[in-house]
C-alpha cells in the first residue's frame, strides 16, 4: 500500500438522475445559456486542433465565443487524428442489420470490459448519427455505393456494419472537414490561431483554470494567454512507450501539467496495444506504423503450426497453418476486439510460432480475399494501406502475406472528467483522447473518431456555455502573482534543461523509458515487473535531470529542447501508469495482469474489488499519488464476462 494513498471516493454529479435515454436531453435543458450577444465578451482557449479540438474551436467560434487556439504543428491540419485509417462508427442502421443507439452503447460498454461510465457511453452512441450528417454536409467524401448512398463496413468486437469510412484515410478526411470549418472561423476573425506554439503550463487562479503559458516554437518567446475557460484537446500519451503509432511529437505535457495543477488523472494504465502494426526492423526505429483494423475484414491471421518453422509462407501448406483467431473465437474470428487479438498474437509468438526477424510477427494474409474478390476490389478497399506496407517493408502484400505485430496505439486513460467533460479543475475541460471518459479499459475500432467529434462538435459546446453562464470572471492581469509564478516555473524548467549539458541525448532517455514501459507495463503486467519498473523509473528521472544534453538555446527553433521538455513529463507519467497498473490487481481490457487470468489465458476481471475508475491526484514530486475511486454502476448493461467465442 505504500506506493499510493487512498483518498475519498469521487463521483460524477452532473448527469441527471433520469432514465439513460433522457439524460443528455435533460442535462442540456438544465444547462444555463449565454445570450448570443454576450458570447463575444467571453474567451475560450482551445489547445490542440485534432478532431476534438478542431471541432470544438470551430463550433464555439460559430456560436460567437472568442476562441484562442493553439497547435505545436505548423498548421492545424496536421494533428495526429489525421492518421486514423479505418473509419467512424455511427448507429445509423442504414444496413438494416439490427443496429441501434442501444446496441452501439451496449457494444461499447462490453468492448470496454465494463470499466466505462454508462451515462457518457450512451450519450456518445446517441450523438453518433449526427456526426455523420455533419461531416457529409461539410463535404467529407465518405465511401459510397453505386446508388450514391453511404457505404459501411464492420470492425472488431461487433456483428453489424456500422463503420463509415473514406478508403483507408477516414481520419484525414474528417480532420480536413474540421480544419476547414476552423479555417472559416479564422478567416472570419472569430478564432485567433497560434500555430507552432506549445502549451507549457496551465494557469489556475482561485481554483479555476484561467489561461495557459505557451512557447512560440519559432522565436522561443514564452507568453501568457488569459481566458474564461481552457479546453485541452491534446490527445493521448502513447509516446510514453517511445515506439508507438502516435506522431513523433504527440505528447502528454498539457494534460500532465494540468494534472500537476490539480486535475485528476484517471486509469493511466489503460493503454491499447493495436494488434495489426508493422513489426520493427532495427534499433534506429523511430515509430511504428499501424495497418488498419479494417484489414481484418478480409485478411486472415495465421502462424505456422510448428514452432520455429522458417519456410517462406507460400511453402507452408494449409494443413500446417494455424488460423488461431478463427480457431479460438469462431463467433468473431479475425474480428475479435483489439486487446484479445493482441494478446493472442503475443501468445503465439511466445510459443515460438512467430514469423519474421526475431519471431515477433504473425501473418495477415489476403490470398483468400484476392481469390474471392479479385485484386481490383481489394485494391479499391485497401489500396493505400497496401502501398504503405510496401514502402515501409519493401514487400508486396498482394503477393506475400503481411507480417504484423502489436504496438501501442491509443490510451483509454486520461484526465478525469464529469458528464460535462469538466476536469477536477473548474473551467478546465478535456475532450477527445485526452480524457478518460468513454472507452473503459479497451476502445473498439472506429470509436476514437466518433468520440473526438462527438465531444468537439456536440457535447462540449453546451456544457462550456453552462460553465460560462454560471460563473463570474474578473479581469486577470499578467502581473497577477499566480500568472507570474506559473511563467517563472515554466521558464525555469527550460533554463534548467538547457544548462545541464550532460552526456546523454534526450532520445536515449526516451528509448530507455519506452523499453521499461513496454517490458513491464505493456501487453502483460506482473507485480514483480511493475515493482521493478517503479524502482528504476525514479533513478532514470534523476539521471535525466543530471545528465541530459540539450544543445542550443531557448531563443529560437530548438527541437531538442521541445523533446526534452516532453520527455521530462513522460518520465513522471510513466511512473503513475505503473502505480495504477500495480494497484489494479485484476485484468480488464488492455490491462492484463498475469496474476489474474482464467485457465485458458483470458483476462479475469475482479468486479467486487475493481469496478471503479481510478482517478489519481498528484501528491507532489517524489510523493505517493492519491487514489480517488469513482464506483461504476451498470444499471443497463449487466456485468458479465466478455465472450467472443
Amino acid at each position: 500500500m505504500t506506493f499510493y494513498k487512498l483518498g475519498d471516493d469521487i463521483a460524477d454529479t452532473t448527469a441527471p438522475d433520469v432514465p439513460i435515454e433522457q439524460r443528455w436531453d435533460k442535462r442540456r435543458f438544465d444547462a444555463k445559456l449565454v445570450n448570443p450577444a454576450n458570447r463575444r465578451r467571453h474567451s475560450v482557449i482551445v489547445v490542440g486542433t485534432g478532431l476534438a479540438g478542431g471541432a470544438a474551436g470551430a463550433t464555439l467560434a460559430e456560436q460567437g465565443y472568442r476562441v484562442i487556439q493553439f497547435c505545436y504543428q505548423d498548421s492545424p491540419r496536421r494533428a495526429h487524428s489525421i492518421a486514423a485509417q479505418g473509419g467512424i462508427n455511427a448507429a445509423k442502421n442504414y444496413r438494416n442489420d439490427g443496429d441501434s443507439v442501444y446496441r452501439l452503447f451496449y457494444d461499447t460498454v462490453k468492448g470496454g470490459d465494463f470499466r466505462a461510465r454508462e451515462s457518457n457511453v450512451y450519450r456518445l452512441a446517441q450523438t453518433s448519427t449526427q456526426i455523420i450528417d455533419q461531416c457529409v454536409a461539410q463535404g467529407v467524401p465518405f465511401a459510397r455505393e453505386y446508388g450514391g448512398l453511404l457505404d459501411t463496413r464492420s470492425f472488431g468486437g461487433v456483428q453489424v456494419a456500422r463503420t463509415f469510412y473514406a478508403r483507408g484515410q477516414t481520419g484525414q478526411q474528417l480532420l480536413i472537414g474540421a480544419y476547414q470549418a476552423l479555417s472559416r472561423q479564422i478567416d472570419a476573425g472569430n478564432v485567433e490561431m497560434h500555430e507552432r506554439t506549445e502549451m507549457l503550463d496551465l494557469i489556475v487562479i482561485d481554483g479555476r483554470a484561467r489561461g495557459i503559458v505557451a512557447r512560440d516554437l519559432v522565436t522561443g518567446q514564452i507568453s501568457t494567454y488569459i481566458a474564461d475557460a481552457v479546453v485541452l484537446a491534446t490527445g493521448g500519451y502513447g509516446n510514453v512507450f517511445y515506439l508507438s503509432t502516435n506522431a513523433k511529437n504527440s505528447n502528454a505535457s498539457a494534460i500532465w501539467r494540468a494534472h500537476r495543477r490539480g486535475a485528476y488523472f484517471a486509469n493511466p494504465c489503460y493503454t491499447q496495444i493495436h494488434p495489426t502494426c508493422i513489426p520493427r526492423s532495427g534499433d534506429y526505429q523511430s515509430k511504428l506504423t499501424l495497418m488498419s483494423e479494417s484489414l481484418r475484414n478480409d485478411g486472415r491471421i495465421w502462424v505456422p503450426k510448428n514452432a520455429g518453422d522458417t519456410r517462406s509462407p507460400d511453402q507452408i501448406p494449409e494443413a500446417e497453418r494455424d488460423y488461431y483467431l478463427e480457431r479460438i473465437y469462431p463467433g468473431f474470428g479475425n474480428l475479435v476486439p483489439r486487446d484479445i487479438a493482441s494478446r493472442a498474437a503475443k501468445n503465439q509468438c511466445d510459443l515460438g510460432r512467430g514469423v519474421g526477424p526475431g519471431g515477433l510477427g504473425v501473418y495477415l494474409d489476403f490470398a483468400d480475399a484476392i481469390r474471392r474478390l479479385g485484386e481490383d476490389q481489394v485494391r479499391e478497399k485497401y489500396g493505400n494501406l497496401f502501398e504503405m506496407y510496401d514502402r515501409i517493408t519493401g514487400e508486396d502484400p498482394y503477393k506475400v502475406p503481411m507480417r504484423i505485430y502489436p504496438a501501442v496505439h491509443y490510451t483509454m486513460g486520461g484526465l478525469w472528467v464529469d458528464y460535462d467533460l469538466q476536469s477536477t479543475i473548474p473551467g478546465c475541460f478535456v475532450v477527445g483522447e485526452a480524457n478518460f471518459s468513454d472507452h473503459g479499459a479497451n476502445r473498439l475500432g472506429a470509436s476514437a473518431l466518433m468520440q473526438g467529434l462527438a465531444d468537439g462538435y456536440f457535447v462540449l459546446p453546451p456544457m462550456l456555455g453552462n460553465y460560462i453562464a454560471t460563473n463570474k470572471f474578473e479581469t486577470i492581469d499578467e502581473s497577477h502573482p499566480a500568472v507570474v509564478d506559473t511563467v517563472n516555473e515554466a521558464t525555469g524548467r527550460l533554463t534548467k534543461l538547457l544548462s545541464i549539458n550532460g552526456d546523454r541525448t534526450v532520445d536515449s532517455f526516451h528509448r530507455e523509458l519506452g523499453e521499461i514501459m513496454w517490458d513491464e507495463c505493456g501487453m502483460a503486467r506482473s507485480e514483480d515487473g511493475l515493482r521493478k519498473a517503479l524502482g528504476r523509473l525514479p533513478e532514470l528521472r534523476e539521471e535525466f535531470w543530471r545528465s541530459v544534453k540539450v544543445p542550443g538555446s531557448g531563443a529560437n527553433v530548438n527541437q531538442s529542447l521541445e523533446r526534452a521538455n516532453r520527455v521530462s513529463d513522460f518520465l513522471e507519467l510513466g511512473e503513475l501508469m505503473c502505480v495504477d497498473a500495480l494497484h489494479r490487481e485484476e485484468s480488464c481490457g488492455g490491462h492484463f495482469r498475469v496474476e489474474s487470468q482464467t485457465p485458458d489465458g483470458e483476462a479475469r476481471r475482479d468486479d467486487d474489488r475493481f469496478a471503479y475508475a481510478g482517478a489519481w491526484e498528484f501528491g507532489g514530486t517524489d510523493e505517493a499519488p492519491i487514489l480517488h475511486r469513482e464506483p461504476l454502476e451498470f444499471d443497463y448493461v449487466h456485468l458479465a464476462q466478455r465472450n467472443y467465442a
Binding site: 463535404g139 523511430s286 506504423t289 542550443g552
Partner: protein, 248 residues
C-alpha cells in the same frame, strides 16, 4: 551502408545558408530517410554540433509535415512517396545525397530544412470549405452523391498540404494544391451554393500569397505524394472561367 549527406544549413530566416557535408557510415537500408537524419542528429548532439532542424510528425505519409528536396527532387526519387516514407534502400552504398528545403518565394526558410508554409493555410481560409455550421446538417442520405463524383472528390481531398507541388514548380505555383481543394468541394452537391465564390476567392488568395502562375509544366503532379492529377488544374480553370463569366 555509407552515405554522404550534403545538407542545407541556415540558422534563421535572415541568416545566410550553405551546404554542409556529413558522413553517415552506419546507414541501414531499412531505415526511413528521416531516421537517417535522426541518427545523424544524435551524433551531432553528442559532438556538440547543432542538430539539423526539419519538420516531421506522423512519419506515415499522411500529416504533410515533412518534406525536403533530395537530389533536386521534392520528396526524393520515389514516386508518390513522402520523405518520411522514403527508405534508405532507395539509395546505393557510397551515394552522395543533397538535402535542401522547399525553395519558393512564398515559403521562407525558418531554419535549416524547415520552411513557412502558412500561405497554404490562408488559401484554405479564403474559402476552401463548405459553410455548414455545427448542428445545421440535414440527414446524410438526403443527398445521394454518384459514386464517380464521390470518388473524384475523395481523390482530390487526399492532398496532404505538404507543399511539394510548389517546391517542384519552376514558377513556385500553388495551382495543384488550390485546384485539388476546388475540385474536391465544387464537384460535390453540398459545395454547390458557394461554387463560384470559392474558386474566385481561392485563386485571389493564392496570387496574394506570392505563389507563381501556372504554365502547365506538370512537375507538380509528378512530385505529389498523393498523385493529385493535372486534370484538377483543368477543372480549376474551367470553374474559374465559369465563375468569372457569371460574376456581375
Amino acid at each position: 551502408m555509407k552515405l554522404t549527406l550534403r545538407i542545407w544549413r541556415q540558422a534563421g530566416p535572415a541568416e545566410p545558408g550553405r551546404m554542409v557535408a556529413y558522413e553517415v557510415p552506419d546507414a541501414n537500408p531499412d531505415m526511413s530517410f528521416l531516421e537517417l537524419l535522426d541518427v545523424l542528429n544524435e551524433r551531432l548532439t553528442l559532438e556538440g554540433d547543432d542538430p539539423v532542424t526539419f519538420d516531421h510528425d506522423c512519419r506515415e505519409g499522411i500529416c504533410g509535415a515533412c518534406g525536403v528536396v533530395i537530389n533536386g527532387q521534392a520528396h526524393g526519387p520515389r514516386e508518390r512517396t513522402t520523405t518520411c516514407q522514403l527508405h534508405v534502400r532507395s539509395f546505393a552504398d557510397g551515394d552522395v545525397i543533397d538535402v535542401e528545403p522547399w525553395r519558393s518565394v512564398a515559403f521562407g526558410v525558418v531554419k535549416d530544412l524547415m520552411v513557412d508554409r502558412s500561405g497554404l493555410d490562408r488559401i484554405i481560409q479564403a474559402g476552401g470549405y463548405i459553410s455548414a455550421p455545427t448542428g445545421s446538417a440535414p440527414e446524410a442520405h438526403s443527398t445521394p452523391v454518384p459514386k464517380p463524383v464521390a470518388d473524384t472528390a475523395f481523390d482530390n481531398a487526399t492532398c496532404i498540404g505538404c507543399g511539394a507541388c510548389v517546391a517542384a514548380c519552376p514558377n513556385g505555383s500553388a495551382m495543384l494544391f488550390t485546384s485539388a481543394k476546388v475540385t474536391h468541394l465544387n464537384l460535390l452537391p453540398q459545395g454547390g451554393p458557394e461554387r463560384a465564390e470559392r474558386v474566385l476567392n481561392l485563386v485571389e488568395a493564392m496570387d496574394a500569397e506570392g505563389f507563381g502562375g501556372c504554365t502547365n509544366t506538370g512537375e507538380c503532379t509528378v512530385a505529389c505524394p498523393k498523385g493529385i492529377p493535372l486534370d484538377s488544374i483543368a477543372t480549376l480553370n474551367r470553374e474559374y472561367l465559369r465563375a468569372s463569366l457569371g460574376r456581375k
